[in-house]
């Protein structure tokens, strides 16, 4: 095998692909990047058997062939490589890389055991703008659970109905949901994508832009955007029926400036205890919300923010991170907070945009 390619392109592609390798694999070949050179293109593959990626870049192929190169070593060398072109030659079991200034020889791994990436037939698919899909996933992905006990909560739910595509995530203490209108395609069944794989998909889509088509079946979801093919396992499980826990009526409702809340929470976090607890008191008579946090070892703080407020007075405690997390998904100036009082969840929305919804459970103290 022998080919020449643009160092910059090669290096960027390897840097993306290397995130998919399995470093502590039972199967040593999974820690490698499979490089295939054929017909004017070089294709890089990597997989950890949870998700996989394939990137093709243009190259001048002198001699076609396939080789598995330890991923982190290849990526490490290329990230520091200078010069315009890189030439890659396989000599015996050593892979020789040459740039204008430096050369390296990397021991390869037998590639016969490298698994093929699953392909999803094109029967079921939906098409969406990459930027929109990124927004859809980003708006909710921080709410997934970190515990491995329930794989369905460690995933982001994506489904489509009535010309809209909806994403949701919950760790059973808070819930986030985002809706985006879909131009084509309508009904998408519930797809549970593992949150780790979602993060990688987001990073890929952020770079390529344009329109993306997502193909799915009951086990796998995949997409081909530009020169990148991505595929991820789909979790076989049932996402909780979260619609029923979203309250419809409220006893207290407030509209506040997003910036005010963000700033108050940031400042209160200095004084919050190890559970990051902040207390919110809705005071309709004073047209304000009183926020306070207290740590016996540090001290305490109270902050008042102006609010348009109606309904009953209520005091509730929250994990401040659970509140501030939601603000990153709200782009408008003002936030609507709605609740039914102590012990009941708090609903957070953009006051002028109904597409995002966030539900946080209070702390029981």
């Amino acid at each position: 095998m022998k080919f020449n390619c643009n160092t910059q392109e090669f290096s960027t592609a390897v840097a993306t692909v290397v995130r998919f390798i399995e470093r502590r694999a039972n199967l040593p070949v999974l820690s490698s990047i499979l490089v295939t050179a054929d017909g004017g293109r070089v294709v890089l593959h990597a997989t950890n058997l949870e998700c996989g990626v394939e990137i093709s870049i243009p190259a001048k192929v002198n001699e076609k062939g396939t080789v598995a190169i330890p991923g982190s070593i290849l990526a490490g060398f290329l990230s520091n490589a200078r010069g315009k072109t890189t030439s890659v030659t396989l000599v015996g079991e050593m892979c020789k890389l040459e740039t204008e200034r430096s050369t390296a020889s990397i021991k390869t791994i037998p590639h016969e055991d490298f698994p093929a990436l699953p392909r999803v037939s094109a029967t079921a698919s939906f098409s969406i703008k990459s930027a929109d899909f990124v927004k859809l996933l980003r708006s909710v992905m921080y709410s997934t659970s970190t515990s491995t006990i329930k794989p369905e909560l460690q995933s982001v739910l994506v489904y489509g109905e009535g010309g809209k595509i909806i994403s949701a995530a919950t760790d059973s203490f808070r819930l986030a949901e985002k809706t985006i209108a879909l131009r084509s395609g309508g009904n998408v069944p519930q797809l549970l994508i593992p949150s780790r794989n979602v993060a990688e998909l987001v990073r890929i889509l952020e770079v390529v832009g344009g329109e993306t088509v997502l193909y799915y079946n009951e086990n796998q979801i995949s997409t081909q955007v530009g020169n990148v093919y991505y595929t991820s396992r789909i979790i076989d499980g049932a996402f909780p029926n979260y619609k029923q826990i979203i309250p419809k009526t409220f006893t207290t409702e407030a509209i506040v400036l997003r910036e005010d809340v963000a700033q108050a929470l940031k400042s209160l976090s200095i004084f919050s205890d190890k559970f990051s607890q902040v207390s919110l008191t809705f005071e309709p008579s004073k047209k304000s919300i009183l926020l306070s946090s207290r740590n016996p070892d540090v001290g305490e703080q109270t902050t008042t923010i102006q609010a348009t407020i109606s309904g009953e007075m209520a005091t509730m405690n929250f994990n401040s991170r659970y509140l501030s997390d939601s603000l990153q998904s709200i782009v408008g100036d003002s936030v609507r907070l709605q609740t039914n009082g102590p012990g009941k969840p708090l609903l957070v929305r953009d006051s002028s945009d109904e597409s995002f919804l966030y539900l946080a459970m209070p702390m029981n103290r």
């Binding site: 997989t47 491995t148 396992r233």
Partner: protein, 464 residues
């Protein structure tokens, strides 16, 4: 894993010729034995993990595999091997189909939440002082049952070596004695890092003593313990049985006490009631402060459960907390155990537990009310006073018998609500007025005679 596999393969090879293959599970296990030999170990471990036969239909084996990766790879790369090995075991098999299915069971290890490394470090025992940082005043719930002990501990912290020296905390197991005395140590360690704190159990002290005698390092032993500014010793009642250790303890006690170093002890009963403990040691304990921790009342139990739940970042409905506090009576340790049961279940289910869930989970957690017979009461109290059980029933008026007999009547009346005539009957046919007199006398004396009060308290603990 590998070791297990080799072992498993060996045992299987021996077993195969003798067993008839009846189940699909056995069929697949035997096929795996064959496959493992022909396929490299990494490949085998990666691709054949979590595979299982779902069913066999008309010669077609439906093989469950965990993912599409596995399905694609097994069917393209290993199909021949799999089919071959299955055919070797059963001629009727014609083909293999691969179906993506989650395994029938997940390994237990995977169901448990991974231990967070940061938490483990927090729990680690501080090596120099032997203190566990988990025991602090901030996590100590104060209620009527332990507020005196807590106040004494606070006084010790304010003026160590002067206020109450020694401080001895006693009470039954699992009520937070160790927590309280370690909290004193932890507070010291943080507030005055230059002063030397040491925590140990009396058993550790005894072992240390014995080994230093054996290795002839007595001097080193003496110096080691005399350097501390605060010495905390848990479960001192065990010292009573160890003659030589007790003597060394006595000298150490005197040395530290004379140089105004604070001493803190815990014991499961009042020092005056510890058998085989010399009076000189008892009187030294009495010179300081002796406080008891009793079983928590309902409100305190509720507060404890709340605090513990919050420590675990675990939200429970009030009714469940209430239920927990009312069913699991007495011991705080049992309370914590019951809470842990709920916690694990909560994590596994991933939803809030209802009162009904809690009731099912905690079935059998609450300690059943012990039924105590009159004979048992008599025996316990007779043993306590070191007299023959039968003498209680006799018509004797010897002083050493009369007192225990009166206490028995008092306990039977006060704690077990038995009628006066029936108590008289059970005590060897005494008149009910005698019983009334005895109960009244003990009731009066308890107030003035503190030793009697302690004895009755101790007996009640033994009868619980």
């Amino acid at each position: 894993m590998e070791r297990f596999l080799t072992h498993w393969v060996r045992s299987r090879i021996l077993v195969v010729p003798h067993t008839r293959m009846t189940t699909t599970k056995e069929l697949w296990e035997n096929a795996l034995v064959e496959l493992e030999i022909s396929i490299s170990r990494p490949n085998f471990n990666t691709w054949f993990k979590d595979t299982h036969i779902l069913r066999v239909d008309d010669g077609v084996v439906h093989l469950g595999v965990p993912s599409q990766f596995a399905r694609d790879w097994l069917s393209t790369k290993f199909h021949k091997d799999i089919l071959g090995s299955l055919r070797n075991l059963s001629d009727s098999i014609r083909n293999v189909e691969y179906v993506i299915s989650r395994g029938p069971k997940k390994a237990i290890e995977e169901m448990r939440p991974p231990a967070a490394p940061t938490e483990l470090q927090l729990e680690a025992v501080h090596t120099k002082t032997n203190l566990n940082p988990r025991f602090s005043f901030s996590s100590f719930v104060v209620g009527p049952f332990n507020e005196l002990a807590h106040a004494a501990a606070q006084a010790v912290i304010r003026s160590p070596g002067i206020a109450y020296n020694p401080l001895l905390v006693y009470g039954p197991t699992g009520l937070g004695k160790t927590h309280l005395i370690q909290a004193i140590g932890n507070h010291f360690r943080v507030s005055t890092p230059d002063r030397k704190v040491h925590y140990l159990t009396s058993e550790k002290f005894a072992m240390d003593y014995v080994s230093s005698v054996q290795s002839g390092k007595m001097q080193w032993f003496k110096e080691k313990y005399r350097q501390y500014d605060l010495l905390i010793m848990d479960d001192v009642q065990f010292l009573a049985k160890m003659e030589k250790t007790k003597e060394e303890f006595f000298h150490l006690f005197n040395f530290l006490h004379d140089s105004n170093k604070q001493l803190v002890f815990s014991s499961d009963q009042h020092p005056n009631l510890i058998q085989n403990l010399e009076d000189r040691i008892k009187s030294r304990f009495n010179a300081g402060m002796i406080v008891s921790i009793t079983a928590p009342d309902h409100e305190s139990r509720l507060a404890i459960v709340r605090t513990k739940a919050i420590q675990h970042n675990f939200i429970l409905p009030d009714e469940v907390l209430e239920y927990l506090a009312s069913t699991v009576e007495g011991n705080v340790r049992e309370l914590e155990g019951a809470l842990n049961t709920l916690l694990i279940n909560f994590e596994m289910r991933g939803r809030e537990l209802t009162l009904a869930d809690a009731k099912v989970l905690l079935r059998g957690a609450g300690s059943p009310k012990k039924v105590v017979s009159v004979q048992e009461v008599v025996k316990t109290i007779a043993d306590f006073y070191g007299i023959d059980e039968n003498s209680i029933y006799e018509k004797t008026r010897r002083k050493e018998i009369v007192r225990p007999r009166q206490v028995i009547m008092y306990i039977l009346r006060e704690d077990f609500h038995i009628s006066f005539p029936s108590i008289g009957d059970k005590m060897g046919g005494r008149d009910h007025t005698t019983v009334i007199h005895s109960c009244d006398k003990v009731k009066r004396d308890i107030i003035t005679d503190s030793l009697l009060g302690q004895e009755v308290h101790q007996i009640r603990l033994m009868l619980k």
